[in-house]
């Protein structure tokens, strides 16, 4: 073994890694927000049993869940231009991650909507609220509270899966590290660095999820 590890190397490459980290967080946050919106819209369509659209959502969810994200990403980035829907690296990456997270969020939000007591739905109908108002005024404020921890878990997964975007050349954390490894062969140091960064990000976010879960459970615990 002639490999001399040099952990000062990580510090020397701090700025590059930080840039990658910022891109990772940036892409993840945008995707997570879009995925949340997809989840709420999709779950609403399913709960209201809108014909055709509801079935489309079911198919979308099962399709995304039963195919590898990497292949979805390549289809979006390399396949769609053939039919005139070419997107930039950034756009493709966000689209792939958002569609992926959205599919999981549909089920998360639907779970929350189904947890809304039946009496509330009947009461809403008795008060003359239409299905749209029911979702907006009752299901979202009551049900979303239940699904937020699950949605946050999906958000953590989206963050981790942003590493896939290095495959299409988006300059996020893994991409930055791989580029350095290819040039300077400091494999161990680079992977240790990004490993710790990912671990830190995920653990922080998970801790936050637990706090939030605790906070959101408050009204249900009684005094």
């Amino acid at each position: 073994m002639s490999y001399q590890s040099d952990f000062g190397y990580i510090w020397a490459n701090g700025p590059a890694l930080l840039g990658g980290l910022v891109t990772t967080i940036h892409v993840s946050v945008v995707s997570i927000l879009i995925a949340g919106a997809i989840g709420i819209v999709g779950a609403t369509l399913r709960v209201l049993e809108v014909p055709v659209l509801s079935q489309t959502v079911v198919f979308y969810v099962s399709f995304v869940r039963n195919t590898p994200l990497l292949v979805q990403l390549f289809f979006i980035f390399f396949g769609l231009p053939a039919i005139g829907l070419g997107l930039s690296i950034y756009g493709s990456g966000i689209l792939a991650l958002a569609l992926w997270g959205g599919a999981y969020n549909v089920e998360n939000v639907r779970g929350g909507f189904l947890a809304v007591p039946k009496g509330l739905r009947e009461a809403a109908r008795a008060l003359g609220l239409g299905p749209f108002h029911y979702v907006l005024l009752i299901a979202v404020p009551v049900g979303l509270r239940v699904s937020i921890p699950a949605m946050m878990n999906t958000a953590v997964s989206v963050l981790k899966n942003s590493a896939y975007l290095q495959a299409i050349g988006l300059g996020e954390l893994t991409f930055v590290a791989m580029e350095k490894v290819a040039k300077e062969f400091r494999t161990l140091e680079m992977f240790a660095a990004i490993g710790v960064l990912y671990l830190g990000l995920v653990l922080t976010l998970s801790w936050f999820v637990r706090q939030l879960e605790h906070r959101l459970q408050r009204p249900f615990r009684g005094r």
Binding site: M1, T67, P68, V71, F74, K160, A163, T174, T187, Y198
Partner: protein
Amino acid sequence: MQLLLDNLGLFLSGLGWTFRLAVATLLIATVISAIVGTLSVTRSRVVRLIAIVYVEVFRDIPLLVNTLFVYFGAPLLGVPLDPFSAATVSFSLWGGANGAEIVRGGFNAVPHHQRVSAVALGLKPWEIYWYVLAPQALLPMLPPFAGLFTLLVQATSLASLVGVTEFFQVGQIVIERTTITTGQSPAFFVYGGLLVTYYAICSVLTTGTRWLERHIAERTARLPKPARQLIVPGDVRPQESV
């Protein structure tokens, strides 16, 4: 269509490698899960901590980073791995971490009074584990493990990044070759076809998992309800996804 017929052999061999990778990984991951999962329900705090650290590290670092690290990092430790072995090692470590959570959940779902009764009967710890807890924990673990296999099939697509000629990599090769020879990129149809194939395979597996879930739920529903359930909701985190 012509494209598919011309490259049928290639696609089939790719699928073959995908399955070989998924099955090899499942077998090794099961062994790791059994060991680490058991360690995470022992009484020793240090042992539990080791198991938790293992699970957290491999679940929280993206699988892709893990795979690249194993492939490019192994030579530095003096054991260069070929792409297939590197992918197997990396997926097994990841699958083992996820499986360990399933095993832990299975053991935690066994009603507490079973353990207490076994202690009262004077059974030794290994006897409690082997004769009382393991048989009851095993059945509820099967559906999540079937789900894990579906994830592993999907995860194999990552092996293409380190150069295993599995299904996805074959697709990329076909696209490149056709683009060079005909000047037109069939990316849309090939990647679309890959997606449909993965969808077909994984849907069958998912349906199987659902069936297993229902079947086992029916079986366990007939057992008398335990007096006190110690399973904490939210204790078992949702399974990882690829």
